[in-house]
Amino acid sequence: MSDLNTSMVEKYRNNFLKEVEAHVEEGEWVKMCMQCGVCSGSCPLGPHWEHPPQELFMMIRAGKREEVLSSESMWMCTSCYNCIVRCPRELPITHIMHGLAHYATRLGIEPKGQPTRQFAQLFWDNLAKNGRVNELWLGVNLYFMNGLVEGIKVAMGMAGIGLGMLKAGRLSLKELVGGHTVKDKKGFKAMIKKAQELEAARVDK
């Protein structure tokens, strides 16, 4: 358990809802859910969620801290925004899902092997480096996400598509070294740093 997580448990004890309200992006909306279930019914990936949004909200109110934060459910969200559009109480459900996922990550209790989580991390690391997504490296990292042998297998399987993309000019081998960046890389880094500071102020307050 990370230090941050321990201190949060201490701070809020049984009142997980208050913790969510204080630290999770758009978390103050959770209490307004009226349990109609329209979000769960509208989610295209609904059947694959262990706990649909409506249920997550109820779990938060019931104080099920560990179950919620270590859940894979909110990682299933594909940001289609169907739930936001349909929620009669106008809850920003998509944002709350991402907020919960992010908060769990900050506390270090997110489901580590969850593929969406892994991809999201790879994507972020890739993007944060130069301010541009390096597709070649993103692909390579993704292939070898589950080890060398698995990576080679996947790479072999995708070889045809890769060569085709090279030929069509959709992929450049030059990207392997350095890759393209934003014009003002220093400025970009400063911007990200500031944003992270602001966010940390909210999460850690």
């Binding site: 009142n15 809802l17 209490k31 307004m32 009226m34 349990q35 409506q54 249920e55 109820m58 779990m59 109110r61 019931a62 099920k64 109480r89």
Partner: protein, 745 residues
């Protein structure tokens, strides 16, 4: 006879009637067959000129039976109002031309229809008398109000604003009723966010300051006799003194009794002091008066509270209430706010299965509760375990798991039990019969509230779940006792604001009835009707069927068992007339003859003409309007149909059925309002009674060797426009199948 009959028939040529019908022939029919002394045509009868034509004949020619052959009796009622005459409307527009195609082939049968309706109108006029008030009326501009809660006080204040005196009789020692026990009330004004002051003290002050209102505290009604316009009430105070006063009408605002939570042993009510009802929490909140609420057992400031909704309600368990009391969800939100507004850190959980917050601001109030941090958990409580702190065991219906929470205080949202007085004679008989069958003990009857001096019982009849009402959607406040109106939770469960609205409505109804009764006019739904039932004593067999079947308790009995009519209590439905086996009961303008002679006036073609005749007896409240609307939509039905409106299916005499069969009708259709639990009968029990009677018609038909299909009874709602025409056309094809009646001469 001072009332020498002179029929004037007036045929309108407007609205296309003259284009489709041979008006000259209609006029001939009226004078030759209908024996109308005067018959006139007019291009536009409902115009000022047309009405003047009729009025002139009444004034100068001595016409006292007016037959208007024009549109439906439901149209142009304002234009065709004549005093001191019997008015008959014959429906040539909606009844004939609008339901028939404008073709050459149809012309003959359409004309036959028109001729028959003119004959029927004249026959009805021949046997109708101009209605006159009986002279038993009284005018008392004072209203008796039973109950001094918010409903009763509102009724008194509203009546006073309209210039009426009223007397409140309150059983307890103070005004205010249940509302006086509340700390705050559910909000009534936008933004519906916070509990409001009850305002009951201001209301009591206003009542006490009003010169039109007299208040009797610690008093009960020991006898209420008479009828609307002249109710005579004995008001007895605790000290034993009795005062008799006259009233025009009565508002019963006897409120509710809180549900006895001691049956809820599973929730440890009575065992644990920290399990309280909503009303008991109000007392705790009042005591705290905005400060921290302390729990009863040890005076600890409450830091966590759980509200269990539907405790002993919406349940079919023995001793529980079947109904939803409608106010408790909002009340729990309000009470959770008592805690949250004082200290937002107090945990307040509302455990509900279906959250219902009726009213304009209900949803806003729910949101406001959520914003303040009240937790709403969908679940069912199974048990409250009593120890130092009560523990609520429940099944969470969203998370689908059994769980439990320990809290400082548990509040049970128990419901309202109507305080509607004792049972009627009929209800007691039903109870006795049930007790005999099941071997259970007869339940102890409640104390009477009104102590009515009526043959049928001491209080107004109860409807679903013991509430005193007759039909809360179609005609609220009306009870089955004319001139007595119920308001507030005795009528249906409700909160303070709804009770205020309710009492205002009931007060207006009461004023209306006091005035109507004085003029001998009927109350809803035959508002303004001057006719009333009378009976031929020589013919009466004292069978008491009329006194038993009257839905409104209007008929008493004298020592010999003859019926005694109370005209002002009568709603003029005619159920007594339909009940009478010896046909001695009649109204001036509605009797066995006015209908019986109409059906005899129909021209019945002989068997080989292939023109059957179908008689429709349609209830004027729903079925007849449905037929009119079908006509307005130009929906066609069989040209062989002859429709006679009746006041209620309950007024249909079996003699009309046998008469119509004997005179050669091939089929009879009876159309009444839906009966049973979800009844729509405007006279409550009329159509149900008729259904029962008609159950035996099949045997009569068999004894005449007629097919059972020839008489059919239907329940028609006002919206059944498609259905009515379908029923008629189906009857025509049925007759085609089974053949014409053998009774044509």
């Amino acid at each position: 006879m001072s009332d020498e009959m002179k029929i004037g028939a007036y045929i309108c040529k407007g609205c296309g009637i003259a284009d489709r019908l041979d008006v000259g022939q209609l006029e001939m029919t009226a004078t030759r067959d209908g024996k109308a002394a005067i018959c006139k045509q007019h291009d536009f009868l409902c115009s000022e000129e047309g009405v003047k034509l009729i009025q002139d004949d009444i004034d100068n020619e001595g016409v006292n039976r007016v037959v208007i052959a024009a549109c439906s009796r439901r149209a142009k009622t304002e234009a065709f109002q004549f005093e001191n005459v019997a008015l008959v409307r014959t429906n040539l527009r909606e009844g004939v031309i609008w339901v028939r195609p404008d073709t050459d082939e149809a012309r003959e049968t359409t004309q036959e229809m028109g001729d028959d309706y003119v004959r029927m109108g004249c026959a009805e006029a021949k046997y109708a008398h101009p209605p006159k008030p009986s002279g038993e009326q009284g005018l008392t501009r004072a209203i008796l109000i039973a109950g001094g809660g918010v409903s009763g006080m509102t009724a008194a204040l509203e009546a006073s604003k309209a210039g009426y005196k009223s007397t409140i009789v309150e059983k307890s020692g103070s005004l205010g009723g249940a509302t006086a026990q509340l700390f705050k009330k559910i909000p009534t004004k936008a933004p519906y966010a916070d509990p409001e002051d009850t305002g009951v003290d201001e209301m009591i002050a206003a009542v006490e300051a009003d010169p039109n209102i007299t208040v009797f505290l610690n008093a009960t009604l020991t006898k209420t006799a008479g009828a609307p316009g002249r109710f005579e009430a004995d008001i007895t105070t605790e000290s034993g003194s009795t005062e008799t006063q006259m009233f025009g009408s009565i508002v019963q605002a006897s409120g509710f009794k809180p549900f006895d939570a001691s049956v809820l042993t599973e929730f440890s009510y009575g065992k644990s002091k920290d399990v309280v009802t909503q009303l008991e929490l109000e007392a705790l909140a009042k005591e705290a008066n905005g400060g921290p609420i302390k729990r009863p057992s040890d005076g600890k400031e409450v830091s966590s509270v759980m509200f269990i909704q539907c405790a002993g309600q919406r349940s079919k368990k023995e001793g529980h209430l079947e109904h939803c009391s409608g106010y408790c969800c909002s009340a729990s939100i309000k009470q959770a706010m008592y805690f949250k507004d004082q200290n937002p850190d107090i945990d307040t959980v509302v455990l509900y299965t279906d959250l219902r917050t009726p009213g304009a601001g209900g949803e806003n109030f729910y949101r406001s509760g959520q914003k303040k941090g009240v937790i709403f958990t969908k679940g069912v409580a199974s048990e409250v375990v009593h120890s130092q702190n009560p523990t609520v065991k429940f099944k969470d219906l969203i998370l689908d798991e059994d769980t439990e929470v320990e809290v400082d205080l548990v509040v049970l949202a128990t419901g309202m039990v109507p305080n509607a007085g004792s049972s009627t004679r009929e209800e007691l008989t039903a109870d006795e019969n049930e007790a005999k069958e099941t071997g259970n003990e007869i339940r102890i009857d409640a104390d009477s509230i009104l102590n009515l001096d009526y043959r049928q019982g001491k209080d107004v009849p109860h409807m679903a779940n013991g509430f005193a009402d007759s039909h809360f959607i179609c005609f609220p406040y009306e009870t089955q006792r004319t001139g007595i109106y119920t308001a507030g939770p005795t009528r249906r469960p409700m909160d303070v604001q709804q009770a205020i609205d309710d009492a205002t409505g009931a007060a207006m109804k009461a004023i209306n009835e006091a005035e109507n009764a004085a003029l001998g006019r009927a109350a809803h739904p035959r508002s303004g009707d001057l006719s009333f039932p009378s009976f031929r004593k020589e013919g009466c067999t004292q069978c008491k069927r009329c006194t038993v079947e009257c839905p409104f308790g209007a008929i008493n009995e004298d020592e010999e068992g003859y019926p005694v009519y109370n005209e002002s209590r009568c709603r003029r439905c005619g159920t007594c007339m339909g009940a009478c086996p010896v046909r001695v009961i009649s109204f001036e303008n509605y009797s066995i003859d006015t209908v019986g002679q109409q059906l005899k006036a129909v021209d019945i073609p002989d068997e080989f003409d292939e023109k059957p005749r179908i008689l429709v007896l349609a209830c004027e409240n729903d079925a007849y309007p449905a037929l009119d609307m079908a006509a307005q939509n130009k929906m066609e039905y069989s040209a062989f149909t002859r429709i006679i409106p009746v006041r209620c299916l309950g007024s249909v005499s079996l003699s009309w059925i046998t008469d119509s069969m004997n005179s050669g009708f091939d089929g009879v259709i009876l159309m009444g309002c839906p009966s049973g639990d979800d009844y729509q009968c405007h006279f409550v029990k009329g159509s149900g009674t008729a259904q029962e009677r008609m159950g035996k018609v099949g045997d009569t038909l068999e004894s005449l060797s007629l097919e059972k299909e020839r008489v059919q009874t239907y329940e028609i709602s006002i919206t059944d426009i498609q259905k009515v025409t379908q029923i008629i056309n189906d009857m025509e094809s049925t007759i085609e199948q089974i053949g014409m009646s053998p009774f044509k001469f």
